[in-house]
């Protein structure tokens, strides 16, 4: 039963990542949404598959190897894209000014 929880949690998280990629105003906020949501959702789904599968131990271990590689690779590529976007002249549009929200 725990694999159902992991699978549904991962599916919802990946859907919210795609929604954030479509709706956020800026490259950096989109990177923020997809880097977190995609990594977490993919690791959760792969854990569910590794728990539920009938494969031998090497097959189950391969799911965990893919999850580990996603956890290493996805933030690395996101960091490289953010650095390259800032160096190629894309300025951030979203400004967080919480003091102005509270004191109009």
């Amino acid at each position: 039963m725990i694999e159902w929880a992991f699978l549904l949690f991962g599916l919802f998280i990946m859907f919210f990542g795609a929604l954030g990629l479509l709706r956020f105003p800026d490259v950096y906020t989109r990177l923020h949404a997809t880097a977190k949501c995609d990594t977490g959702g993919a690791i959760s789904i792969l854990l569910a598959l590794a728990i539920a599968s009938n494969f031998p131990v090497t097959g189950k271990l391969k799911f965990l190897v893919i999850a580990f590689m996603i956890a290493m690779i996805n933030p690395m590529v996101s960091h490289a894209i953010a650095r390259a976007a800032y160096k190629s002249g894309v300025k951030p549009k979203a400004v967080v000014d919480m003091y102005a929200w509270d004191n109009p």
Binding site: E3, L21, L31, T39, K62, V77, A82, V90
Partner: protein
């Protein structure tokens, strides 16, 4: 035992992930800048990795996991090369 329990929902999960990948491909096609396209392509490739891992469980074929792992590594190299291209072109 547990695998047959999960096989009920797995085709719908694959269809749902294909739907979200279709949503993401809007940003690949109409993205305003090159960085948007790179981010969306990275996201779509991660979704494809998860879809192939699900299909390996659905078809009971463990060799598809190797395909998934190779696609993940190609995604890493391709993303870094696109980032380097954006940095050099600026």
């Amino acid at each position: 035992m547990a695998q047959e329990n999960l096989l009920v929902i797995l085709p719908y999960a694959v269809a749902f992930l294909v739907f979200t990948a279709t949503l993401v491909s809007y940003r690949v096609i109409f993205g305003p800048t090159l960085a948007d396209r790179a981010v969306a392509l990275n996201t779509a490739t991660t979704k494809a990795v998860v879809i192939i891992a699900m299909l390996s469980l659905l078809y009971d074929a463990p060799y598809l996991l190797d395909v998934s792992l190779v696609l993940l590594m190609v995604n890493a190299v391709g993303g870094l090369i696109i980032a380097k291209y954006m940095e050099v072109r600026a």
